[in-house]
């Protein structure tokens, strides 16, 4: 879910950009290091960026017809790790804004924070945690559970942050930020929770295919 152009006041947009910036800059630094050590990595990272974008543009079946919003953050974080995903996710968001008008340009920083920073770290943490908890289970089961949890919680984490960003921008006159958060979280949960489940399942199928070749 991307915040469209104009839905955040300029001050908020700037603040979220500042919040996302250190993560993205850190990602760019590690990317530059990687590319300097290994020039072939440039093409691989470009391909990974293309993959993230195309995955995010896929229409997957969901409760409300189809949705083109899941970002493949789960799969990306497990495959490329969060610092790289901060860059790839931001590049993906930029292309989504320019090629599809999904998400705005002034809201790019806010969307990067939720989709390219929080999502990947939540996914990565969930993946590590579940892998550790299920270490005794058969490898296939453990991996599937971890991948599902990673994709599901990344999707959910992203939507939670988005709701919070909107709540901070448009606090409820009586309930304040908390009340507004309750409103947005409830409204968006109608579509976002089923999407999180579906994204988890789809990611499991994809990882199974990848581990079987």
């Amino acid at each position: 879910m991307h915040i469209p152009e104009g839905l955040l006041p300029p001050l908020h947009a700037a603040a979220w950009t500042a919040a996302a910036a250190p993560f993205v800059v850190h990602g760019v630094r590690s990317l530059t290091r990687e590319v300097r050590a290994n020039p072939e990595a440039k093409l691989l990272i470009g391909a990974a960026g293309a993959f993230c974008f195309v995955l995010s543009a896929l229409k997957i079946p969901s409760a409300t017809g189809t949705s083109s919003h899941p970002v493949g953050v789960g799969l990306g974080s497990v495959l490329f790790r969060p610092p790289v995903m901060a860059v790839l996710g931001t590049v993906t968001l930029l292309f989504q804004a320019l090629l599809l008008a999904h998400g705005g340009l002034s809201t790019l920083g806010a969307n990067a924070f939720s989709l390219a920073v929080v999502g990947p770290w939540v996914a990565y943490g969930a993946f590590r945690l579940v892998r550790a908890l299920t270490a005794r289970l058969p490898e296939g089961t453990s991996l599937s559970l971890a991948v599902f949890t990673a994709a599901f919680s990344a999707s959910l984490g992203t939507y939670t942050v988005t709701s919070l960003q909107l709540a901070l921008a448009h606090p409820d006159p009586e309930g304040g930020v908390l009340g507004a958060f309750a409103k947005y979280a409830t409204v968006f949960s109608v579509t976002q929770v089923p999407i999180a489940v579906i994204e988890g399942l789809v990611t499991v199928v994809a990882v199974r295919l990848l581990t079987s070749v």
Partner: protein, 246 residues
């Protein structure tokens, strides 16, 4: 593959420097975000639509592209009508309709300026200028590569998905999950394959780690800057005047 970018390549305004279009659209965006929504939002919308017509933007495509974000804007605005956590757990928010209208008008006008920009400025033109900024070269090159490769990969995704659909791959929800998962997996493998093949193909062209290309820069005549800055300045002036008169 991506109708917005394709339209941008065909746009009558393609030949103008992206920075010129950036001044126009960015200026209007700033008006929409920072000035009182009435009458700024309406003025911005009018200026945007007028520019779109002048640039020969396909208005149907513009409307289709706006549909998705507008739903989100409408939902977010509608949430302002309701209040939570006051005297009653849920009730109508005082002044809700006015706030909702204000947010919706602001965001819709802002969305229009974004669409005007992307429908007249192809990504390739932006990428070419990115190399003149102070961003790290590695990042600029990765972004350019991503663009080229995502266009090729989008074609693949489209063909794979329609092949799956032909074989009843999206006939039931269960089949759909299986197909979408397989599609994601296949795309990952194909993107790795593309990287390997491009590596080989570019090695023949002398690739040694730098993907430099020649970008011709035409100086922008002052009149173009002036023309681009005029609409936002006019909107700002009109808004401030009308606010002052009120």
């Amino acid at each position: 593959m991506t109708p917005i970018d394709t339209a941008a390549y065909r746009s009558r305004w393609r030949r103008y420097h992206p920075a010129v279009k950036g001044v126009l659209c960015g200026g209007l965006l700033a008006c929409a975000l920072m000035l009182p929504p009435w009458p700024a939002a309406a003025l911005v919308a009018a200026a945007t639509l007028g520019s779109a017509v002048a640039a020969g933007v396909p208005l149907g495509l513009m409307a289709r592209a706006a549909a998705g974000p507008l739903v989100l804007i409408a939902t977010s605005a509608a949430a302002l009508l309701v209040s939570v956590g006051g005297a009653e757990p849920v009730g109508w928010a005082p002044g809700g309709p006015a706030r909702a209208a204000e947010v919706a008008a602001r965001a819709s006008a802002a969305l229009g300026t974004q669409l005007l920009f992307v429908l007249t400025t192809p990504v390739a033109d932006l990428l070419a200028r990115l190399s003149r900024t102070r961003l790290p070269a590695a990042l600029v090159e990765v972004v350019a590569l991503t663009y080229q490769m995502l266009m090729v990969l989008l074609g693949t995704a489209h063909r794979v998905a329609s092949g799956q659909a032909a074989r009843h791959g999206y006939r039931s929800r269960r089949a759909g999950l299986r197909s979408a998962g397989a599609l994601g997996g296949v795309l990952f493998l194909r993107s790795l394959d593309r990287a390997r093949r491009l590596q080989e193909g570019l090695a023949c062209r002398g690739y040694t780690g730098r993907l430099t290309v020649l970008v011709d820069e035409r100086p922008v005549p002052p009149v173009e800057w002036a023309a681009a800055a005029a609409p936002p300045l006019l909107v700002a002036a009109l808004t401030l005047t009308s606010t002052a008169l009120r």
